[in-house]
């Protein structure tokens, strides 16, 4: 950990966004994670994304479980709501919070232990229900807090720091998310902010269950030769399918692109995702093709990254439950207890 606070002095060119904040205003406390942890880079990417899309910090709720990754919400967007829940129970607490107040922007932060082991069921069900949230898994394939055992996302055959090979199959989080019904699914790498920041922005603007699997090397226990989640391994095997740009609703698109190099995906809120093709043709709105491509990647040992799947017209939990427009926590006594006359009317209708 670091003993001195990050100095308040800043670069002279630092500018305020439309919400009236500088990027530095979206920071949290100084990280107590190990120096070089990928999670800190993801925190920095979240800070950058929130700044770029002019988020009002008090309208964000950050929820997390237990683990290194789940400590990280302390290190970004300090002026927002936060809930550090029980191990593996972040999804249900987030679902409850979302039901009570749908006006907040929900960000679930979890790790491979929290989401792929103890909270695997919770993770799957929150995707199934289509909770409107951005669910980020900081995935390092290892239990760092307990000194480096394989986690459920460690690849079969990868070697631990002590030299043991992993004999179990790995859980592929993006495959599970797509299968369970998430409507925005991407994978990225903590060491590639150019790809990661726009993905986080797009996920936060997506009105449905958005899931990001971010490979985040554990410098202390999983950054050696033989690991498949090290900086070097991911850089060598990273197969980026696309890079996205997020174009907010009212902005006019003036740049022209050579045909076949970009695809535009219009989202429900009017925002547009511009997909810049990197090599092969890939259509992220085709669910089956997406599943196939991911499986091919697993077979050939590629780390397939980018926006993997998006449903441009998602439906969320509140839509399924047909709730009222007003957030439930804003309903007052006359709304909730309409009185004897109303009760009599309901009873009469049931007789």
């Amino acid at each position: 950990m670091t003993y001195i606070a990050k100095p308040k002095l800043h670069h002279p060119s630092l500018v305020k966004n439309k919400a009236g904040y500088t990027r530095r205003d979206y920071e949290g406390a100084v990280s107590t994670l190990c120096a070089g942890c990928g999670h800190d880079s993801i925190s920095a990417a979240i800070i950058q994304a929130c700044y770029e899309i002019d988020i009002l910090p008090h309208q964000v709720a950050k929820l997390s479980g237990i683990g290194c990754s789940s400590k990280s919400p302390t290190y970004f967007v300090g002026a927002s709501h936060g809930f550090n829940t029980v191990h593996g129970r972040m999804p249900s607490v987030l679902t409850g919070a979302n039901l009570a107040n749908k006006d907040l922007m929900y960000m679930g932060v979890s790790g491979d232990g929290d989401s792929a082991s103890i909270g695997f069921g919770q993770f799957a069900h929150s995707m199934r229900r289509g909770v409107n949230m951005t669910y980020i898994v900081m995935n390092n394939g290892v239990y760092g807090l307990t000194k480096g055992q394989f986690s459920a996302t460690a690849d079969k055959g990868s070697i631990s720091k002590k030299g043991a090979a992993n004999s179990d199959e790995a859980i592929d989080m993006v495959s599970v998310a797509i299968m369970m019904g998430a409507t925005f699914v991407g994978r990225s790498f903590s060491g590639d902010k150019q790809q990661l920041v726009p993905l986080i922005k797009a996920a936060m603007m997506h009105k449905g269950a958005a899931f990001l699997d971010v490979i985040s090397p554990c410098v202390a226990f999983n950054n050696h030769a033989g690991s498949t989640k090290s900086y070097d391994y991911v850089r060598e095997h990273n197969e980026a399918l696309n890079r996205i740009d997020v174009i907010e609703g009212r902005e006019e698109i003036t740049t022209e692109y050579a045909p076949g190099t970009t695809t535009m995906v219009q989202q429900h809120d009017g925002s547009i995702l511009r997909l810049n093709k990197l090599g092969e043709d890939y259509d992220p709105s085709d669910k089956i093709a997406a599943m196939t491509r991911i499986q091919e990647g697993l077979r050939s040992g590629e780390v397939v990254t980018g926006l993997l799947y998006v449903d441009p017209t998602p439906k969320d939990l509140h839509h399924h439950l047909n709730t009222v427009d007003v957030p439930l926590n804003a309903l007052n006594t006359p709304d909730l207890c309409p009185g004897t006359a109303a009760l009599d009317r309901i009873n009469a209708s049931l007789r």
Partner: protein, 604 residues
């Protein structure tokens, strides 16, 4: 871009902006840290070695270091609650002089060895001559200093009023030099260079200053001469007690530091209505901003854009000065000229006029056939590095060399001239200059421990306490500035960013995890594909907008990208090194000392 060669001593020297800007290259951050730790004597000795007159300069230096100070670039007006201000480097130097342990300093002073049989004459007893004397006396040279005034010190003693620089400070620091031994003082005005050379000196150093004050040339000047004084001469007469009063209404002509000293001195000698009247605009005045502030603080108005036209007088008694009003006009090359504004002339009544409109070099005592050539401006033709004149035995320094500068330049010249004289007299090539002494040492003490206070403060610059105005104006010997006390000195010292503790990058150790990029409060680190400097500056984490500050390029990365660090705004907080998992970043203290005559054979 080419990877940065950090083995070149200039690279890290330039990052220490204050040291780079100082003509004598004093290791500023090092002595400021020593002051913060209360090691005043050690801080004093660092200064003494480098600039010879810490107590004097700590009160009077022109402070080229302060405009260069990094804090002036990185402070945020809202956070520090005031405008961007450099560290009070100059006044901290005085703290070292004020609180040092005089006995331990005396014990640390060098003593002259046995005479080496060579004799050197120094003409003029000012700072450049004294520096030459100090650097050469410790090598066994026999030094003779000539000066027309009864005490050594030159302009330091005659031109700077004692309310700014008490005489005991001059006595003390001159005493450290004469105390070395082998330094003789001859109270004698030199009238002939050839006569000096005829005395058989092995080398002659001319540090005679720029002693001639420019005169006013307007109608009435001669008739009212009794009440019109040349500022330089007047200050000198005040200093030696020959002049003790002045008229009630005084006009000071000129906008330089001499004018500021004249007007403040006049206030103390009976001048109730003292004003400074300047040809130029207020901002273009040559006086240092803080000297103007001090003058204004003593109720001295500064009137601008007025050119003296005529001195009005009646029966040999001065009545006042008539001024023409002017405006500044700039031609297409940006050159300024002052043209009459067409408004009616202004008349200002007065009893005395002090003329401080500039000073000039004058060498009437150097014969044309002494082998010393002069240029068309009347300045000696010199080798700029060695300060050697066309007569190989004769060297120049201080204001005598390139025209009026200041004390710190005089000390720097003195060091260089001493090196030249020593090299010449031991038969080495004078033009081969010695390189500086450099040590670079890691400051890491433990996993998160550094040997310096790395957390930058957001305190605004602390003000030096002043004596009450009523008291100060009553007594010409009462020093106006009281100096920082140890507590204020500590707080001001903490504002120093320790720019000499350098960020050193080793590409071969880097795993490109971005930890340093993410933590850097100034966004000055970027990992990116290489490019040309101009284009690279635009695509960094934050644009590098100051082309006078270098980009540190680190290579040897696995991805073949480069690490680019913009030195401009780095706080030297060390967070990059603290967050680095592999030690690819390290904070290393760069200590650079200029080489003086003692080690003149050190190779570059």
């Amino acid at each position: 871009m080419k990877p940065t060669d950090i083995k070149n001593p200039d690279y890290f020297h330039k990052v220490v902006d204050c040291q780079w800007a100082c003509p004598a290259h004093t290791p500023v951050p090092e002595y400021i840290r020593l002051i913060a730790h209360g090691h005043y004597s050690d801080a004093y000795m660092i200064n003494w070695k480098s600039n010879v007159f810490p107590g004097i300069l700590g009160r009077t230096c022109d402070r080229p270091c302060e405009p260069a100070c990094r804090r002036g670039r990185v402070e945020d007006e809202k956070l520090v609650k005031g405008k961007k201000e450099p560290v009070a480097i100059c006044r901290l130097k005085r703290v070292a002089a004020d609180y040092k342990d005089d006995d331990s300093i005396a014990a640390k002073m060098p003593k002259a060895p046995a005479k080496n049989g060579k004799r050197v004459a120094c003409i003029g007893g000012g700072p450049s001559s004294l520096t030459v004397a100090r650097d050469l006396a410790v090598l066994g040279y026999e030094i003779t200093i000539y000066d027309q005034d009864p005490k050594l010190g030159g302009f330091i003693r005659t031109q700077i009023p004692h309310f700014r620089l008490p005489e005991h400070v001059i006595d003390e620091e001159v005493g450290y030099i004469t105390g070395i031994g082998n330094v003789a003082f001859r109270h004698q005005k030199v009238e002939s260079m050839k006569a000096v050379l005829a005395e058989g000196y092995d080398a002659v150093f001319v540090g005679s200053g720029a002693p001639r004050g420019r005169d006013l040339d307007v109608p009435g000047r001669k008739e009212a001469a009794a009440n019109i004084h040349i500022g330089l001469d007047w200050l000198s007469s005040v200093s030696f007690g020959h002049i003790t009063k002045v008229g009630k209404r005084v006009i000071v002509l000129g906008g330089g530091n001499t004018a500021m000293d004249c007007c403040r001195t006049a206030r103390r000698l009976g001048g109730d209505d003292v004003k400074v009247i300047v040809r130029s605009g207020f901002d273009e005045m040559k006086a240092s901003p803080w000297e103007k502030e001090d003058a204004i603080g003593e109720d001295i108005p500064i009137l601008n854009m007025l050119v003296p036209k005529e001195v009005k007088h009646e029966a040999g008694t001065i009545k006042g000065v008539l001024f023409e009003k002017v405006v500044a006009k700039y031609d297409d090359k940006g050159r300024r000229s002052l043209v009459p504004s067409g408004e009616p002339d202004e008349f200002h009544e007065c009893d005395d006029v002090l003329v401080a409109i500039g000073q000039e070099n004058a060498f009437p005592w150097i014969e044309t056939d002494a082998g010393i050539e002069f240029d068309k401006w009347g300045l000696p033709k010199l080798n700029e590095a060695t300060l050697q004149s066309t007569n190989k035995k004769v060297f120049f320094g201080g204001d005598a060399a390139f025209g009026p500068k200041n004390i710190i330049w005089a000390a720097a010249h003195g060091h260089e001239a001493a090196i030249s004289i020593h090299k010449m007299l031991i038969g080495e090539n004078v033009e081969e200059r010695p390189g500086p002494g450099v040590t670079v040492l890691s400051q890491k003490m433990g996993i998160h421990e550094w040997s310096y206070d790395n957390a930058p403060t957001i305190d605004h610059r602390f003000k030096v306490p002043h004596r009450k105005k009523e008291e100060a104006l009553k007594d010409i010997m009462a020093e106006v500035e009281l100096g920082f006390d140890p507590k204020l000195a500590f707080e001001e010292a903490q504002r120093c960013l320790n720019c000499d503790v350098q960020t050193v990058f080793s590409g071969s150790l880097c795993i490109e995890c971005d930890a340093c990029v993410d933590i850097c409060p100034m966004d000055c680190i970027t990992f990116t594909p290489d490019g040309e400097e101009k284009e690279l500056r635009t695509r960094l984490t934050a644009p590098a907008m100051n082309p006078t500050q270098d980009l540190y390029i680190g290579a040897g990365l696995k991805t073949e990208r480069v690490m680019v660090k913009d030195e401009d705004v780095c706080l030297h907080c060390g967070l990059c090194a603290e967050r680095c998992p592999t030690g690819a970043w390290d904070m290393r203290k760069y200590y650079m000392e200029m080489t003086h005559a003692e080690h003149a054979c050190r190779k570059q």
